[in-house]
């Protein structure tokens, strides 16, 4: 029996350390002991500072009170300079942090969004196999890299804030088209309702077959959170959004193949000295 098989058995029996070790094996690229695609996850994304972590903490409290178990994969970017990463998201999910039914694992992007491609879905599968009923993939920010990450989830919740800047950021990144559900957080602040309206009207001019619901919530005073949790269960994705997600996954896979190519460094060097053109470089990597 392989190491991952053994860890899986122990993890299914409730050995938390084994689960954690199993996730490390997957992150290091080992093969998953669980059939691919058996798990189901919710991606949570949104511009920095809109209150995603606080909101997730609130939702987790509700799920736990309803007898569910929640695992969060919190993804942060690696520093392009040092390759290190600061993974600090836990600090805001305090209330739920000591429950046996709550698990948080921080992941660094290791500098390329494709880098998580091979491990994110297997991690979700293994968590599901071990009985975790809610699996969230959370990213900080809403740039292209973050979208690539949440595109691995089956459904996507976009969290936005009341500021116009937040909404514009989400629009620019193209995340609104991917979202199955949109929560405008900080409804205790004056402009939240207006932000919700502006997103609704932005959606209504689009050509989406079924527009995502836009809900107002406040992670501070708790209003709207129960409704949000219920809406997550009711949400149905659309073929249009599914197609967009698959597209992002394909691009991730492509990136990852490119960056992992044997000839990558060689081709880079050739580009730097000018002995190869960009299209020759692409051709050379594709031929392997």
């Amino acid at each position: 029996m392989s190491e991952t098989d053994e860890l899986l058995i122990a993890a299914k029996n409730g050995d938390r350390r084994a689960l954690s070790k199993l996730l490390t094996c997957l992150e290091e690229g080992e093969e998953s002991p669980v059939p691919a695609g058996s798990g189901d996850s919710i991606g949570v994304t949104g511009p920095p500072g809109v209150g995603k972590s606080t909101l997730i903490g609130r939702m987790v409290d509700i799920w736990l009170a309803r007898g569910e178990s929640v695992a969060v994969l919190a993804v942060d970017p690696s520093s392009p300079r040092s390759g290190g990463a600061l993974l600090g998201d836990r600090m805001r999910m305090m209330s739920a942090d000591s429950s046996d039914s709550f698990f948080v694992r921080s992941l660094a992007t290791r500098n390329h969004p494709g880098g998580l491609m091979d491990c994110l879905s297997p991690m979700v599968d293994c968590l599901a196999e071990c009985g975790w009923s809610r699996i969230l993939i959370e990213t900080v920010g809403a740039g292209q890299a973050e979208i690539r990450v949440v595109a691995f989830a089956e459904r996507i919740l976009l969290v936005d804030g009341p500021d116009r800047g937040d909404v514009i950021q989400a629009e620019k990144a193209g995340i609104i088209e991917l979202a199955d559900l949109i929560a405008i957080n900080k409804s205790d602040l004056p402009n939240a309702a207006r932000a919700a309206d502006s997103i609704r009207s932005a959606l209504s001019v689009g050509e989406l077959e079924r527009n995502p619901e836009v809900l107002l919530v406040s992670a501070h005073d708790g209003s709207g959170i129960e409704q949000l949790v219920d809406a997550i269960d009711a949400v149905e994705t659309t073929t249009g959004r599914e197609r967009l997600r698959i597209r992002e996954r394909l691009i991730s896979a492509w990136d990852s193949t490119l960056l992992g190519a044997d000839s990558f460094d060689e081709v880079m060097a050739a580009l730097e000295t000018g002995s190869m053109t960009l299209s020759e470089a692409v051709e050379s990597i594709r031929k392997g």
Partner: protein, 145 residues
């Protein structure tokens, strides 16, 4: 290396912890910062879930004499004997031998340079490679000077 940086105890200042966390990141490590006012049991749980190789504790309040041994004991009880524990902050000279005895592998006082901490982590790698004790549940004979 995956390193949890934790701030046990009740005092509300985490500037020191954040400076350490950032320095370790800039040194190429993956750092999980726990936020303020964590109990030893919570820190043990975080180290377990994150499968961290080391945990760095930042303390200012004088709570180290109780909290650090409790954390070390908690890690051993949970079977995480190979996890490295180190500490930073204001820890009086006379308290240090007892902490080293508990399996703490380094204590960094105020004014420690980042490069010293990174050197310590490099040494850990070398020792681990050579099969020498670094974990909190292993022979406490060696610590960083």
């Amino acid at each position: 290396m995956r390193i949890v940086v934790a701030k046990p105890g009740l005092d509300g200042h985490d500037r020191g912890a954040k400076v350490i966390a950032r320095a370790l990141r800039d040194g190429g490590h993956e750092v999980i910062y726990t936020g303020l006012r964590r109990t030893p049991a919570e820190i043990v749980r975080i180290v377990m879930d994150e499968d961290a190789a080391a945990v760095g504790l930042s303390t200012l309040s004088g709570a180290h004499a109780i909290l650090i041994p409790r954390l070390c004991g908690g890690l051993r009880e949970a079977g995480m004997t190979d996890v490295v524990v180190f500490a930073g902050g204001i820890i009086p000279e006379e308290d240090r031998p007892a902490l080293f005895e508990e399996g703490v592998r380094a204590i960094f006082g105020p004014g420690t340079t980042t490069s010293e901490i990174l050197d310590f982590l490099k040494t850990l790698d070398e020792r681990a490679e050579a099969g020498e004790a670094i974990g909190v549940g292993e022979d406490p004979g060696w610590h960083w000077e």
